[in-house]
Every structure is written in structure tokens, then in C-alpha cells.
């Protein structure tokens, strides 16, 4: 099963939904799409607009690969559950987001070899990206990277608590 997610952002991401729908027409595999505030209605896939975090986690676990916008929540979930990931950053110039921060994040993680990023999307390029993603990532859950950041903050807090009051 291929899971597609575009997050809760108020702007639509029909560019991705349309491209996956086009791919879905020629694929035997089940495709499930979370379309958010999208206007385009997929013809060849199951879809819904929003769901609970739990349901999305379950779907991510079941998915052979996840194709999503480059939102931190979607990326975190896929990384945690070890689901191979293709991201298509929402772009400001297509009115998909307020700026291009998703582009920065996608490029950085792609450079680290942790996901496959697609910038202009078509049924063909999606198919290739999915094949690459599945080969790239070993199955199984990963440790959260947040531990060091949490420790940094905790150390700062401990320092404050220990300091004499002003």
C-alpha cells in the first residue's frame, strides 16, 4: 500500500494528489490518500481529508512507502516507523505554502540520504522515486534524533534552577 499525506495546512496540494492519482490509474497497488484541504478528488485511490494521529500512524506502519509533503510531522512519523519516504515539498510559487521552507528541509534530508525528494512531480518521476526510496531505506524503526536537543534544553533549565535568584 502506498500512503500519500499532505498534512493539515490550509492551502491545497492538488499538484501532488493529481500526480499520484495519475500513477494510481496504472498501478495494481492500493493507494490511500490524505488530501487535506485539497479540491481535487482522486479517481483511482481511497481518500479522506483528515484523520486522527493514531489512524495516520497505523497507515504509515502498514504502508510500503509514504509519499508526502515535506512537513516535519509527516517526515517524523515516517522516520520513526521506518517507512521509506518520498517527499514533494510544497512550493510558494504554486500557492502551496506561505514560503519555501519545505524546500530547504527536503534538500537537506535528501543530501543526508534519508529520503527521496521530488520537486516537479509527474506519474513517471513518482514511480521512479518510489522505487528508489524503497531501496534506500532499511526497514524498521529509527531512534528519535530529538534526544540531544532535549538534553541541551534540560541542561539549560538545570543551570537556571541552580543559579541564585536575581
Amino acid at each position: 500500500m502506498i500512503l500519500v499525506t499532505v498534512g493539515n495546512h490550509v492551502q491545497a496540494f492538488d499538484r501532488l494528489i493529481r500526480a499520484v492519482d495519475e500513477l494510481a490509474a496504472d498501478l495494481d497497488e492500493e493507494i490511500v490518500m490524505q488530501i487535506g484541504h485539497g479540491r481535487y478528488r482522486p479517481q483511482h485511490a481511497t481518500y479522506f481529508d483528515f484523520t486522527t494521529g493514531e489512524h495516520l500512524q497505523k497507515l504509515t506502519e502498514q504502508a510500503r512507502v509514504q509519499v508526502s509533503h515535506a512537513g516535519s510531522g509527516s517526515i517524523l512519523t515516517a522516520f520513526r516507523l521506518g517507512t521509506p519516504l518520498v517527499v514533494v515539498p510544497r512550493l510558494c510559487r504554486y500557492d502551496e505554502h506561505i514560503d519555501d521552507h519545505q524546500l530547504q528541509l527536503a534538500r537537506a534530508l535528501e543530501a543526508e540520504g534519508r529520503l527521496v525528494a521530488l520537486y516537479e512531480v509527474s506519474a513517471g518521476s513518482l514511480r521512479q522515486a518510489i522505487d528508489r526510496a524503497v531501496e534506500m531505506v532499511p526497514a524498521g524503526p529509527r531512534e528519535s534524533g530529538g534526544a540531544r536537543l532535549v538534553d541541551t534544553l534540560r541542561a539549560y533549565l538545570d543551570g537556571l534552577s541552580a543559579a541564585p535568584a536575581r
Binding site: G7, S72, G145, G146, R148, L149, V150, T152, L153, L160
Partner: protein, 149 residues
């Protein structure tokens, strides 16, 4: 210590939730925009939320008054924010109230800071970036402390 956690919805909230372990043992209050995940936040402490009405001048005044009310009622020792612009009035009033101010730049800020980050860097007592390459543009007091990924 009472800590006020300030964040917008979406990725900013996702990142804040990843940092909660840092605040174990401290009292936490949250301030964010209205959103579907806010109900689950109530388990962490008091939640203050305000409808999102854009970033125009009238909205800014509303957010400012709301932030002032929250700060005066709660008087946190520390304010921590993962952005975005919702943090601005909390940092301004926090500075006046001698509150410690911590800003955590966004996970997506790899090469460029957020506008909010650039604005609040001068007010921050601790300014954390999540990518080491951002240190080159963030200012000498910025620290790389790890990423949530």
C-alpha cells in the same frame, strides 16, 4: 519553575511536542492558536489558545493583548518557543518582565532563519538552531543543540 511554551500550529507544534521531555518536573503552560490537536495538550497543563486571524495590524493587537494577559496571569520564569510569529508579543512582554527567553529555530531552517527567529534573536537568552550550517548566519550567540529528527 513555571515554563510557558509558545508555538503556532502545524510543524511548530509538532516540534514543541518533541521537546516536552526537557520540561519534566516543571510546571508547563501552553499558548498556541486554536487547532484540532489542542484538546490533547490539556493533559500537559493550562492551554491558552486564540483563533488565528492572519498577521495584519489588528490581529497583531489582539494577539498582543492576549499574550499580555497570559504573561500577567501566569508570570512564567521561562518562555520557550519554536515559533512562529505568535512568540513575538510573549518575548517582548517577557523581556519587560525579566523572564528568561529561549527560541528554538525551526527544523526547516537549514540555510535561512525564519523571520521570527531573526526578529527574536536579539531578545533571546538562548537561541538554538537545528542545523549546524545555520550558525554561520544566525549570530554569535546562537547554539546548535541537535535536531528533533
Amino acid at each position: 519553575m513555571k515554563i510557558a511554551l509558545i508555538c503556532s500550529q502545524g510543524g511548530h507544534l509538532t516540534e514543541m511536542l518533541e521537546l516536552l521531555g526537557a520540561f519534566d518536573g516543571h510546571e508547563v503552560v501552553l499558548a498556541t492558536y486554536d487547532g484540532p490537536r489542542n484538546r490533547e495538550l490539556a493533559a500537559l497543563g493550562s492551554v491558552y489558545s486564540i483563533p488565528y486571524r492572519g498577521v495584519g495590524p489588528l490581529a497583531a493587537i489582539r494577539y498582543g493583548l492576549w499574550a499580555l494577559r497570559v504573561m500577567l496571569r501566569e508570570r512564567p520564569a521561562l518562555v520557550v518557543s519554536t515559533g512562529a510569529e505568535i512568540a513575538i508579543p510573549f518575548f517582548v512582554f517577557g523581556k519587560l518582565m525579566r523572564t528568561r527567553l529561549v527560541f528554538v529555530e525551526s527544523l526547516a531552517s537549514v540555510e535561512r532563519m525564519t523571520k521570527t527567529g531573526r526578529l527574536l534573536y536579539p531578545l533571546s537568552d538562548l537561541f538554538l538552531v537545528q542545523w549546524p550550517q545555520l550558525l554561520a548566519v544566525a549570530g554569535s550567540r546562537a547554539r546548535y543543540g541537535g535536531t528533533i529528527l
